[in-house]
């Protein structure tokens, strides 16, 4: 699409510059630029500039007089919702709809009184809570201070993962509350599972059509055309086959852990990434599990299924998710069986307890007979989602390589050994020289601060991954800011991930402080938060000196305990009440100085 003043938010001069530049860019350069814009907009600098200064520069005659302004708000943890929100905004602007995109963290609650059309793209954290950048807005909206929204029209696009109990809950929270506060719903809420691209694109089209009608702007023929800024060359649906250069189990014999350090070649892909980004790995299912499932189903492994006309066995190995159960999936399965126990299970409000530690094979083995055929069975399964892993390298240090640090998930449940799909695929199947299908997932909300800012990294277990990337970057770029890492694992001798690298960084000053906690080496379990508590005074000093705090790793326990500790430290060291300390932490979060990449 050639940019014009009419189809873009840019003025004549900008359009000319862009049209001169864009066609000359290589795919890799475009990709870089895309990432750059996405990343820098984490602080909303670029995007806001475009909105603040670009939009008013539009020639007056092209701007419809009675147009309503669209505010696109995003609640995003890993960046998916943010990327979608930005993409949507560009598309709207391309249609001359006045639109701005704002992070919920930056959105001032009292401007709710002034907004007109609000489009929300919201993801949900694991236990149904809003992403970090939306906590404040969510809370405000549900407080008594929330204003009437009679003047507002809205729509919500909810991102989620059906394998979690509180699927798309945050999106629903916003949808419900806007409704309660009197806002007019433009479109019913749309829920997206991990494979969100298609439903999101459809919602984009629908919403644009509604807005276009509402503002009497003729629907241009390019209404559904994607914009030039969309996507990267390699995605979940079009991953890059990266060769495995190195694969190391970082744990020693005797450890309870199995952590794979994987070095992949990106040579020739043009893929770029920044510290803090994630790598998507498109996994394959365990072959033994697939064979067991086919046997249990009594199906023909070679039967051709799906439009792609692949064999059932190949489809189950490569394309479909069979290790995770969700309520929607159980409901679909229920249509094919009359087993009363199973019907009772599906009828429950929460299936959380049932789905935990069970997979499709468990259901097939226990609740038959089923009336499905191969094709019907395949049609109820969702596409196997890519698994995201924090990248543990910096390109400034490793060039055309990407490293990830993957904890192998394996446990026994209901009498059978269970495997994390991607982690065991990588740990057990992949060898040096093989390829892994990957794509980069930008995480604009988890980036290093300015090079001179102090940074505190809290990353036990595989949570250390992004911090290895950060430290590589800081070492390579000669960053002057201090860095402090808190690391924890079970045993010093077997589980001290990247020990020699960390020691070297400590020796050469890349790392200012390093505190470690090994929970199972002592009678009393010691975790990173205990080490933080020991260093309370210095930590508080760092925070007062403007330190950025990063947390990566387990969400359920670690991240919560760390946050609680942070609040305690701030309260004790700063002579604050607990409420004030909580507010202080919230403020850090709003300022983008308390950042989390938790899972």
């Amino acid at each position: 699409m050639k940019l014009q003043v009419i189809n873009s938010p840019f003025n004549e001069e900008q359009v000319q510059l862009l049209n001169d530049l864009l066609p000359k860019l290589t795919a890799a350069q475009k990709q870089w630029l895309n990432g750059y814009l996405a990343a820098t907009s984490a602080s909303d600098v670029i995007v806001e500039e475009i909105i603040d200064h670009g939009a008013p520069a539009l020639p007056a005659e092209t701007a419809p007089q009675k147009t309503r302004t669209v505010t696109v708000l995003f609640a995003s943890q890993t960046g998916n919702a943010q990327n979608l929100a930005q993409k949507l905004t560009f598309e709207l602007q391309a249609k001359n709809i006045e639109a701005e995109v704002v992070s919920m963290a930056k959105f001032k609650p009292n401007s709710l009184k002034k907004v007109e059309d609000v489009l929300i793209v919201a993801s949900t954290n694991g236990e149904g809570e809003p992403p970090d950048n939306a906590l404040g807005f969510h809370e405000f909206l549900y407080s008594k201070r929330a204003p009437k929204l009679d003047h507002v029209r809205y729509a919500v696009l909810a991102l989620g993962d059906t394998s979690y109990e509180f699927y798309c809950k945050t999106g629903h929270d916003f949808d419900d509350r806007f409704k309660e506060l009197g806002a007019e719903q433009l479109l019913p809420i749309v829920e997206c599972d991990v494979d969100y691209e298609e439903p999101a694109a459809k919602w984009f089209t629908d919403i644009q059509n509604i807005l276009a009608q509402a503002t009497n702007t003729p629907t241009a023929e390019n209404a559904t055309a994607p914009t030039a800024t969309g996507g990267t060359d390699y995605t979940r649906n079009n991953p890059f086959a990266a060769e495995v250069l190195e694969k190391i189990n970082l744990n020693m014999t005797g450890s309870n852990k199995h952590t794979v350090h994987l070095e992949l070649s990106l040579e020739g892909s043009g893929i770029t990434y920044e510290p803090g980004d994630s790598l998507g790995i498109v996994p394959k299912n365990n072959v033994q599990l697939v064979d067991a499932l086919i046997t249990a189903l009594g199906f023909d492994a070679n039967k051709l299924v799906t439009d792609k006309q692949v064999t059932l066995r190949d489809a189950l190995i490569n394309d479909l998710e069979i290790t995770v159960l969700s309520k929607p999936l159980l409901q679909k399965i229920a249509e094919f069986t009359t087993h009363s126990d199973f019907q009772n299970i599906v009828a429950q409000t929460s299936v959380k307890d049932f789905v935990y530690g069970r997979d499709v094979l468990d259901v097939v083995e226990a609740y038959g007979p089923f009336s499905w055929n191969e094709e019907q069975f395949v049609s109820i399964l969702r596409k196997i989602p890519g698994r995201l892993y924090s990248i543990s390298s910096a390109q400034s240090a490793v060039d055309e390589e990407v490293h990830v640090t993957i904890g192998r998930v394996g446990y026994e449940s209901h009498g059978r050994e269970r495997f994390g799909v991607a982690s065991t695929h990588v740990a057990d199947t992949i060898e040096i020289g093989d390829t892994v299908n990957v794509y980069v997932h930008k995480n604009p909300n988890f980036k290093l601060p300015a090079e001179d800012k102090p940074a505190i990294f809290i990353g036990p277990g595989t949570g250390i991954a992004p911090f290895r990337s950060f430290l590589q970057e800081r070492e390579e770029t000669g960053a002057t800011g201090e860095s402090w890492l808190f690391f924890g694992e079970q045993h010093f001798v077997t589980d001290f991930l990247y020990q020699t690298e960390l020691q070297a960084w400590l020796a050469n000053g890349t790392l200012t402080n390093l505190n470690v906690a090994f929970s199972r080496d002592t009678d009393q379990k010691v975790y990173v938060q205990h080490r933080m508590q020991e260093e309370a005074a210095e930590l508080y000093d760092w925070i007062n000196r403007g330190a950025y705090i990063y947390v990566c790793g387990d969400e359920k326990h670690m991240a919560k305990d760390v946050e609680q500790t942070l609040i305690q430290i701030i309260a004790a060291q700063g002579n604050k009440s607990e409420a004030d300390a909580v507010a202080f932490v919230k403020e850090l979060q709003q300022e983008g100085r308390y950042l989390r990449d938790v899972y």
């Binding site: 190391i248 020693m252 010093f492 001798v493 020990q499 020699t500 960390l502 390093l514 470690v516």
Partner: protein, 577 residues
């Protein structure tokens, strides 16, 4: 207050270890901080040097060194702790604690050393202090178990004459006590002892001074006819003189030592030279004065030439005697008569003159752990629980369950049977006469396997001795993983000193009673050649040996090697055929 001990300047500057000692504030260094630093399980080199004086030093599991480096993990650093037990004597209560601590903090086994001490491997840095505290509760310590000081004083473990053993043990313990470093550093660092203000040198270390000795120093005491402590290999060797069933004094040897470096003929094993006879009441004084001669004249520039043996060879034994006389204020007497029969142990039950019983257990390579079908460690623990006598570690890495009453004997016999413990009856005499040092995986100096390899090599040699009909012939066979001499391989009738993985220098011709060093017969050979070389020699020995002729003497008579008449010709005259 006397004046500070000053060491006269020497040609060349003192080695770096001397600097470390000077700066250490009497062995403290920065150990207090290093031992709690949480990012590495190792400590810096300077502190590790000092750690030796506290009976411990840093090692790593070399089996996993490369694997760990690949996994971005530092080496599996761990501390070896050597527990000082003068004369190798431990009470049952002490044994139980050593047993428990080996499991609690160490790698689950105990090593009985060739110097009658306990060695525990695999202790993590953060556990060293706890270890020291827990053994302190049963009056065991590690002071001066390593380092440039007088080490564990060895004493004959002879169970035959109980009253003599008791007296000899008391004297060796007194020597050990007298020559202990006096610094409070050990108590401060490990036992949370009160910090003591540094006092002027003589008071802090009246014998050693702040530089301590130029190198390690070893004292051992033998009671003829047994030379189980290898008395000739000691810096000071004391040979008990028994007259009318009474211990009257000692023939004193000076300047023995086993260590050398490959490819450096200025280093060599050496045997002690006779200095004279001293009545028992003066023996502590004689030891102190000999030690101070080494303190003042030992080479502090080159550590590899720093042992007392080199000092004596440099000064001449007569000059040393003269200096000793000057320091003592009297001359030593003429040597008295004695005779050694052998340097090995006598296994099984014997009854002492006081009617108490003693059982000498064969312990392969001194390794106490539970083996498949041979729960040695458990068995000894059960014995320790009911034993009312004592345990004596021998210089041959074996163990004597000593001073068993006639009443307890049956119970202990039952336990020995229950746990398959053995006096080694079913083993060849060759195996029963074997010593191996620790070597891989924990010893940082190891070049080739020793403890983990010698048993299997002996198994192959046993086929040869069986066929030759000399299964009951005691041939002293020793293996060290490096040339530093922990197994006293230079005193083996068959000696192996590691050169590289799977490769050894083969030495032959030491005297069965420990009075003559061996000589290199073949250099740098692997198992196949070892067997090919030794088989015909053993076969010939079986056929051609004279009445009572030991293997070490036979190989010289048969012309395989020339006799090493002195350490200084250890490297010469490889063969005289």
């Amino acid at each position: 207050m006397t004046e500070k001990i000053k060491i006269a300047p020497q040609d060349g500057s003192f080695s770096d270890v001397e600097r470390i000692k000077t700066e250490s504030n009497y062995l403290r260094g920065t150990l207090a901080e290093s031992m709690v630093e949480p990012i590495s399980s190792g400590i810096n080199d300077d502190d590790n040097r000092l750690m030796k004086f506290h009976g411990s030093y840093l090692q790593d599991d070399r089996d996993v060194r490369a694997e760990r480096a690949k996994k971005k993990l530092e080496p599996a650093y761990q501390f070896m702790v050597r527990v000082r037990t003068p004369g190798g004597v431990a009470t049952p209560k002490q044994w139980l604690v050593m047993d428990e601590m080996g499991d609690k903090y160490g790698n689950g086994s105990l090593k009985l050393t060739t110097r009658q001490a306990f060695q525990v491997h695999g202790i993590l840095k953060w556990n060293v202090k706890k270890y020291m505290q827990e053994i302190n509760d049963v009056l065991l310590d590690c002071i001066a178990a390593c380092g440039d000081v007088n080490r564990n004083v060895m004493c004959n473990a002879n169970p035959f004459i109980s009253s003599l053993h008791k007296e000899a043990y008391d004297i060796s313990a007194a020597i050990s006590e007298h020559l202990l470093p006096k610094t409070r550093a050990y108590h401060e660092l490990w036992l949370d002892g009160e910090k003591v203000e540094a006092t002027p040198d003589r008071e802090m270390e009246p014998i050693y001074g702040e530089l301590y000795l130029p190198r390690k120093f070893k004292i051992g005491m033998a009671i003829p006819p047994l030379n189980d402590v290898d008395v000739y290999s000691q810096d000071i060797g004391l040979i008990a003189i028994i007259e009318n069933n009474e211990l009257v004094g000692f023939n004193v040897l000076a300047g023995g030592g086993m260590g050398m470096n490959h490819g450096d003929d200025t280093t060599y094993p050496q045997l002690g030279r006779f200095v004279g006879y001293v009545p028992k009441d003066k023996v502590v004084d004689v030891c102190e004065k000999l030690l101070t001669i080494q303190r003042d004249h030992g080479n502090r520039v080159e550590r590899k030439n720093a042992r007392f043996k080199y000092t004596i060879d440099r000064l001449g034994i007569d000059a040393v005697k003269e200096e000793l006389c000057k320091r003592l204020g009297y001359e030593l007497e003429e040597l008295r008569e004695f005779s050694f029969e052998h340097s090995g142990d006598r296994y099984g039950w014997v009854q002492g003159e006081d009617k108490k019983w003693h059982f000498t257990l064969f312990i392969q390579s001194g390794r106490v752990k539970d083996f498949d079908g041979y729960p040695l460690k458990t068995g000894l623990r059960e014995i320790a629980k009911i034993h009312t006598g004592e345990f004596r570690m021998t210089g041959n890495q074996n163990l004597v369950i000593a001073n068993v009453t006639a009443q307890k004997k049956k119970k202990i016999e039952a336990l020995i049977a229950e746990y398959n413990l053995t006096a080694g009856e079913h083993y060849s005499a060759l195996r029963r006469s074997s010593i191996a040092c620790v070597s891989f995986p924990t010893c940082g100096l190891a070049m080739a396997e020793a403890e983990r390899y010698l048993p299997s090599l002996i198994e192959k040699l046993e086929v040869v001795v069986d066929e030759a009909g000399i299964r009951d012939k005691e041939i002293i066979i020793r293996m060290s993983g490096c040339p530093n001499g922990c197994s006293r391989a230079a005193l083996g009738e068959i000696g192996f000193i590691g050169k590289g993985p799977g490769k050894y220098n083969l030495y032959l011709g030491a005297a069965h009673d420990g009075s003559r060093l061996n000589k290199m017969y073949k250099e740098n050979i692997g198992e196949e050649e070892i067997l090919a070389e030794l088989t015909p020699i053993l076969q010939r020995y079986a056929k051609e040996r004279e009445e009572g002729e030991h293997f070490g003497d036979f190989v010289i008579r048969a012309g395989y090697v020339a006799a090493t008449t002195d350490g200084t010709n250890f490297h010469k005259e490889l063969q005289n055929v």
